[in-house]
């Protein structure tokens, strides 16, 4: 794998943050961001996803795209746990401004191998201030 050619020492994983700020379907950024996350999972870096601004709409429940003729890719978020992508940060203020609550979001979970494979939520609702702090602790930020 490409890791061997990487600049850092093997095992020195970088912290990658994928920043999702746009609603799905109106533009392709949400879908193509998800495609990077899936490919990126194979690189064994420390991966986090941030959902803020209209990006929170990417993970709302009950998306149905039949009538617009596009593919509904929201089920893929539920599979992120299988790719060991387990840290999804959602900004509380972004939900509130849009009249949304945590109950409007899909259930996205992972099985924690360090805790007897217990099923745990991948979504963490964080304040705007905490989101800023999370952003300030990354090595690489990819914006979509």
């Amino acid at each position: 794998m490409a890791m061997d050619e990487a600049g850092g020492a093997p095992g020195a994983a970088k912290k990658f943050l994928y920043v999702n700020r746009k609603a799905p379907y109106g533009t392709i950024y949400a879908l193509e961001s998800l495609e990077v996350v899936l490919i990126g999972a194979a690189f064994e870096q420390d991966v986090q996803l941030a959902f803020l601004d209209d990006g929170v709409y990417q993970i709302v429940k009950n998306q149905s795209t039949d009538a617009i003729g596009a593919k509904n890719f929201s089920p893929t978020y539920k599979a992120l746990g299988d790719y060991e992508v387990t840290k999804l940060y959602v900004e509380a203020e972004a939900l509130e401004e849009r009249g949304l609550t945590a109950d409007d979001l899909m259930e996205i979970t992972f099985e924690d191998e360090d805790d007897d494979w217990a099923e745990k939520p991948s979504i963490n609702i964080v304040s705007r201030a905490d989101m800023a702090k999370i952003m300030s602790e990354q090595d690489v930020i990819l914006s979509f």
Binding site: E5, G7, G8, F43, Q45, L142
Partner: protein, 130 residues
């Protein structure tokens, strides 16, 4: 430093590709290494050799092609994004049963792994988009 650049929009419509090019040139002038430019989303459209900009306008594709040749910059067009948007090299065209290709000199088509790798290898990664 080792710099990676991501370009998310196509030529002319958004300033992203121009800004990225000016940034890349300035970085090289300052002695940094721009080892890869990754073209994603509509950014793949920078890699077509079929553009014919007005004679009194910059030629964005040629700018990139020349920069790649002069400064050994790896210009990578994302294959998944390119397929959606109709950017093909000769191999891809053959594989997909298409009767033409349009990739420009100096650009190569490869996978999204090249973006992640750029993030890992680069000291800094800078993204230009809409």
């Amino acid at each position: 430093m080792k710099l990676g650049i991501v370009v998310n929009e196509g030529p002319y419509t958004h300033q992203a590709s121009d800004s990225a090019y000016q940034f890349a040139k300035a970085a090289i002038d300052k002695g940094h290494e721009v080892f890869r430019v990754f073209f994603y989303h509509d950014g793949v459209n920078n890699g077509t050799r079929l553009t014919v900009p007005p004679q009194d306008e910059r030629n964005i594709q040629k700018n990139w092609t020349e920069l790649a040749a002069q400064s050994n910059v790896d210009l990578v067009v994302c294959i998944a994004a390119a397929q959606r948007r109709g950017i093909l090299d000769e191999n891809e065209a053959k594989r997909q049963g298409k009767d033409a290709d349009n990739i420009a000199p100096g650009f190569r088509i490869s996978g999204l792994g090249q973006l992640i790798e750029a993030g890992i290898e680069a000291d800094r990664l800078v993204t230009f988009g809409d």
